[in-house]
């Protein structure tokens, strides 16, 4: 161990140490806030909104909204039962499976795209099976949805699990004692009590799907009106028309901010005024 000439540890609890913390905190705050602010200021000052239709922003916004809507519905339909099972049932390998389920949250999207390509691509593991049904996923809008669902669904599933786990068993048991059948308990007790967590998770996973880039560009490619969502448009148009890219960025900032606000409200984490 290194022996120190004097105790550094005291510095932090010492008064100047507190100032140091404030200064470091300010740097962190500025670092996180200033770039977004600059983006918005620049968008307004250049008045580039006139460029928007030319480069297909409208099409990209529509495509983003439609694909993320489908993604969200699929996530809700298939993710909810899964989250319920993981929250309420014990079965072998539950912890391991849960870990694998959450992996896409921390996985680099490029890896997700590559994995989807070698699985669902034309020459992928399931490519021949899909071809039997006349389906070829890459370069289609469906591929965009697949990529978005793969990376965003785990956000919802995790949140929904927490929500289901937070519903007191006693209330469900009480409902059963009162004669409610299994389905009725779920419908009138469990789901309503977990609904805030479900909705908050759904909004977050929607936001993640909206921002999906890496997996989409690898698996679905980039074509205006078919696979070019907002993030792909920004990447594509950046070199031709920076102002238009900035405007598309501002639209996404707005949508993300909205999602965050809604999600915070639903969780009851109202921002202290």
């Amino acid at each position: 161990m290194i022996k120190l000439p004097f105790a550094f540890g005291r510095l932090v609890s010492w008064r100047p140490g507190r100032w140091l913390a404030v200064i470091a905190g300010c740097f962190a705050l500025l670092f996180l806030i200033v770039p977004i602010a600059v983006l918005i200021v620049r968008a307004i000052s250049t008045g580039a909104w006139r460029e928007m239709p030319d480069v297909g922003i409208v099409q990209a916004v529509l495509l983003s909204l439609i694909t993320t809507l489908i993604t969200t519905v699929i996530t809700l339909l298939f993710g909810t039962p899964l989250a319920y099972l993981f929250a309420r049932r014990q079965f072998p390998l539950r912890r391991t499976l849960n870990l694998l389920l959450e992996l896409p949250i921390v996985l680099p999207p490029a890896v997700a795209g590559l994995a989807l390509l070698v699985t669902f691509g034309r020459r992928g593991a399931l490519g021949d099976v899909l071809a039997l049904f006349g389906v070829s996923l890459p370069f289609t809008t469906a591929a965009v949805v697949v990529a978005q669902t793969f990376v965003s669904a785990p956000f919802y599933i995790r949140s929904a699990q927490v929500g289901f786990a937070g519903v007191p068993r006693e209330i469900e048991d009480a409902a059963r004692v009162d004669g409610a059948a299994g389905w009725a308990v779920l419908r009138y007790v469990t789901l309503p009590l977990a609904s805030r967590a479900l909705a908050a998770g759904l909004v977050l996973s929607w936001a993640r799907a909206l921002g999906e880039f890496g997996a989409t560009i690898l698996f679905a490619g980039s074509l205006q009106g078919r696979t070019q969502t907002m993030p792909l448009l920004i990447y594509n148009v950046l070199e031709r028309n920076l102002d238009a890219a900035i405007w598309a960025g501002v639209i996404l900032v707005g949508m993300a901010l909205l999602a965050l606000l809604v999600s915070q409200r639903l969780r009851g984490e109202d921002i202290p005024g």
Binding site: I2, F139, N236
Partner: protein, 305 residues
């Protein structure tokens, strides 16, 4: 615990701040180069570093349009090698090019299909067949400009017909950010066809794609200019690198990787037959316009506009 952490941080800071003194006589040359130059320039960089042991070359490969945009936003670089004149012009318009740009190589378009050719594409004419999956580079990427020019030329030819261009573009399924992404999508077998440079059909993917040569009268010759940036941190090393690219050593490597030398005429045209055996796929090795061989190097310097 806190004090140990603090000490570790302090040591790290000292270690980081202490290092630059040792690297004073070592130069780092940053080169922004078109994606299609990836293999050729990597090898030129190695050869250059062997000839100049005190210089190490760092490359940033990407679509020329991406690189020009990065330069426009102030990305630090010593050299810019573009796959066309207009992206060099874009960097110049952004005030990032100070010196004279020099053309150092040319390239040609080829049509590539996966080795198993699922859509049975045998010629440019087949690109208009409805339902095939065609991948091109995005607008503003040089290879796309060259491709568009070629499509215009073809549409003017009665054999292809005026509707040809629209029919081909209707088959477009993806617009990639640089030419190497187009090559990758075809090599992966996801796309049925793509249009790339001859030099993109490297030995790494020669088994995965078939390159169909495009006749000279329909082809577009891609011109590659290189120039030193306005704020090069290593202007002398940058000039030495440009000289190296223009010299026989650099030109030979470019030819080896499927580009065309600017030596007029290309004296390695004969040698390119055996060079192409280990570099680009054989199908792309076209005969160069015949002319008498003058071994002297003639750099075509175009003054900055």
């Amino acid at each position: 615990m806190k004090s140990k952490l603090f000490a570790a941080l302090l040591l790290m800071v000292m270690a980081v701040s202490g290092s630059p003194a040792a690297a004073q006589d070592h130069h780092e040359l940053t080169v922004f180069a078109a994606a299609s130059l990836t293999d050729a320039f990597s090898e030129i960089g190695d050869a250059f570093s062997i000839a100049n042991p005190d210089v190490s070359v760092i490359f940033n490969f990407g679509g020329s349009s991406t690189l020009a945009a990065q330069l426009g936003q102030g990305a630090p670089a010593d050299l810019f090698a573009s796959a066309n004149v207009s992206q060099m012009q874009a960097a110049e318009d952004a005030g990032r090019i100070s010196g004279t740009e020099v053309t150092f190589a040319t390239n040609r378009l080829v049509l590539i299909v996966p080795a198993d050719n699922p859509a049975n594409i045998l010629s440019l004419h087949d690109l208009a067949t409805p339902g095939i999956k065609l991948v091109l580079a995005a607008p503003a990427v040089p290879v796309r400009d060259y491709t568009d020019a070629m499509l215009d030329k073809l549409a003017a030819d009665p054999y292809y017909g005026a509707d040809y261009r629209a029919a081909v573009l209707a088959n477009l399924v993806s617009e990639e950010d640089n030419v190497r992404q187009v090559t990758a999508k075809v090599a992966l077998g996801e796309a049925d066809a793509g249009i790339v440079y001859r030099s993109d059909v490297t030995r790494d993917i020669a088994d995965e794609v078939i390159a169909l040569a495009i006749a000279d009268d329909l082809n577009t010759v891609a011109t590659y200019p290189i120039a030193i940036t306005d704020d090069a941190s290593e202007p002398e090393a940058a000039q030495a690198f440009v000289d190296f690219v223009l010299a026989d050593a650099g030109q030979d490597i470019l030819v080896k990787w499927g580009l065309t030398s600017i030596r007029i005429p290309d004296c390695t045209a004969n040698a390119s037959a055996d060079a192409s055996a280990d570099a680009p796929a054989d199908a792309t090795a076209e005969a160069l316009p015949s002319a008498t061989c003058q071994p002297d190097l003639l750099a075509i310097a175009t003054p900055a506009a």
